[in-house]
């Protein structure tokens, strides 16, 4: 399949991986960025959400070679430097996580929806957040504090 070149968390990556390699496997197994999780095999849970060229993508549903040349951001690369992104901060402040397994996907989806709504000049209210979270499953939190976290981060982003 040849050399795959892309940028992950701002760093140029060049890897020789088979054509059938999923983006999530490239991240987890080849680059050892294990913050991106796998919670299902049908593209339903959202534990694997990363950003590809600024848009939320389910990394279990995309071949690595399909994003050649793209800028991929994972949970590990979300914050600048050593600090926390406002969305990460908000999840801590609002108890938006329990076991933490869905959390990277929730945070990446949260950032994406805030950016999209801001760009479109739309109000991201509670019903909108709940609707936007359609593709992310959490079994622990009952979503209440995830919704609050995204709302509070939206005010600061």
């Amino acid at each position: 399949m040849g050399q795959l070149k892309l940028s992950v968390n701002g760093r140029a990556v060049s890897r020789d991986v088979p054509g059938e390699t999923l983006l999530v496997d490239l991240l987890r197994e080849h680059l050892r960025l294990t913050g991106t999780h796998v919670g299902c095999d049908t593209g339903q849970c959202g534990a694997c959400v990363v950003h590809v060229d600024g848009r939320a993508v389910k990394a279990c549903n995309v071949l690595a070679h399909a994003v050649a040349g793209s800028q991929v951001t994972t949970i590990e690369g979300l914050a600048d430097g050593g600090g926390l992104h406002p969305m990460q901060q908000a999840f801590n402040e609002n108890h938006g996580l329990q076991c933490g397994f869905c959390t990277p996907g929730m945070i990446m989806s949260g950032v994406d929806m805030v950016q999209r709504y801001k760009a479109a000049g739309r109000d991201l209210d509670e019903p909108a957040i709940r609707h936007e979270l359609e593709g992310n499953i959490c079994r622990c939190t009952g979503y209440e504090n995830i919704v609050k976290s995204i709302q509070s981060a939206a005010a600061r982003m």
Partner: protein, 786 residues
Amino acid sequence: MSTGIGARVRRKEDRRFITGKGRYTDDIRNDNQAYAAFVRSPHAHAAVKGIDKAAAEAMEGVIAVLDGHQLTGDGIGNIITGWAITSRDGSPMNIGAWSALATDRVRYVGDAVAVVIAESPALARTAAEAVAVDYEPLAAVAQPVAALASGAPQVHDNVPGNLVFDWEIGDEARADAGLAAAAHVTEVEISNNRLAPNAIEPRSAIAIHDEAEDHYTLYTTSQNPHVARLVLSAFYNVAPEHKLRVIAPDVGGGFGSKIYIYPEEITCLWAAMKTGRSVKWTAERSEAFMTDAHGRDHVTRARMGFDKNGRITAFKVDTIANLGAYVSLFATATPTYLYGTLLSGQYDIPAIYGTVKAVNTNTVPVDAYRGAGRPEATYLIERTMDIAAREMGMDPAELRRINFIKAFPYQTQVLLNYDSGDFPALLDMAQKAADTAGFAQRKAEAAARGKLRGIGYSTFIEACGLAPSAAAGSLGAGVGLWESAEVRVNPVGTVEVLTGCHSHGQSHETTFAQLVSDRFGIPIENISIVHGDTDKVQFGMGTYGSRSGPVGMSAVMRALDKVEAKVRKIVAHQLEASEDDIEIVAGEARVAGTDRKMAWHEIGLAAYTAHNLPADMEPGLKEGAFFDPVNFSFPSGCFICEVEVDPETGVTEIVRFVSADDFGTIINPMVVEGQVHGGVTQGIGQALLEQVVYDESGQLLTGSYMDYCMPRADDVPSYAIAHGCTPSPNNPLGIKGCGEAGAIGAPPAVINAIADAIGTDDISMPATPQKVWEALHRARPAVAAE
């Protein structure tokens, strides 16, 4: 800001999770990593005539293909159940043998017959498909009632009629007399839908065998690593305990499903020894649906009698509980001592009798899932109360109120002795928060919009804090259910707490630290919690049954008592004061009324330098404790749910959900509320959305998130939570436990609300739009005709 008991301390563990630095089992990879894939039965029931491994073994990258004959030949023991139940005729239960890899017969779809070890997960999976198993399909039975019918297919030859046990609790003659004397008898037939626990992190295991030391290490998604080590060692003969280290690192939710020691962990350990490689297995979600222990799956007929004033005279219950193909670790305790003992609910019931027939079927094993037995009891009681209220023309809240237990301790007719509670206060609190006074107006407004609005109550009690060891032992438990703790004050004054509990979302790294911060006034950053590794932590029983607070934290409190006593002695000696005059406040110990004091780090240093300790005192500052509760704890609550049903579509919207809970003392309200949110959401999932479906031939029809409907953010409302508090008198903190309340109390509140909205009790879980629409139209054909 306080970081002590009762403070909303933000979680210390969050940082690694929100930055992607959590360390879950599947994130770990060893140098000589190999990968396991299981060859699983596509049949619900079949004889295994032969296994042809040749094609798989010949594939490049395949290290080994191992089967059940090799496993049992190496002396790996059968999988056990931990609680012995005696049938009402005095006979012991009947248990069919369960090997980690089936040898001559498979008994559910997903039952493993062989394992492939290969250089990559993909290679292992491909090779597993190339293993040719010669199955001879047998007739199968999947439904619990059908399994008891005469002539039903036999799951195990040594379990006649598929009946594992036929258990009873209470006094039948007394219950019959109470029903005979009743002015009104309500009869119900209720099923409790089968659920898949669905922790979002799939199960995973990594086994390592160090040949030189003959030592094993197992990384696993476990709620109770020490119990896993004990069972793997004592029963499965994998390795003696001192040669087996079990580590449960970050674990992504459990809800009961990660209590058990599954075939995959056993097989990986054995395969690591066989191949000399580290063996890793991670379930795919479809594998999780097939092989994780499911929950609930009861069918019950019950009768409740009332006198002319609405006081309950008796309750008689007959339940059939599906245990699946094999009897899992807690599977026998769940429908008996965690179910039958709860049949009194919050009510003063003078006569109760229950029977439980536990049956084998050709489905994956059923075991404890969040609430375990108590949701089934609560759903039965709380639906019965509502149906009775409608039949007798009474207000459901008032019917509950007049039957509430009002004085404690209260001895129920089904073994438990409730220690504390204030049920009328919780009902008042919930009614106020839910503005029940305004309900009639809201209903009228909804009707004007063409919606049917209904209100539903659930007033419930749980027995948590598992469990008093001697009592559990007398009822058949194979283990004690105490908990342990060790508190180490380091020479620099920082503190480590080692606990046998395990946090897989419960926030122990924060809440356990709050106990220490509260006691000594030291900063929470200087305290760390160690758990989940049998090489680091003394023996402990793990986390389930809302036990970490009432049992685990109690052990920490006892260890803190011992540390505090030693600190007082050291400080009194060094400052030449009386121990009684020493006050420990804000990270200092001082002599009351003077300016003589020692800072916390000075105390730690004094203990370890040992230059000036009282005569006969050992150096160091480290104490351990085991806490064995004298009773269960009894959290209680009142949930009120309001729904709007669209009669056109049958769609139910939950428009209001109020929870008034009594968890006793609360360590961190933020964490407790989070537990309620999650539990209630699982309860709403059960009530509206979730159901595992096996067809009659035992094929699993709900094997992915496409067919099994998980609650998502827009399926649930925002919750209103209020707390009452009657502290438990039976542990040092007065704590009762909060992990399961939501899942226990929510389903009947939701279904009662729907029944109220549509005016019929002819509705079952999950109340899908189709079911609600059909019930509505059965009950009100006129509406359908409009």
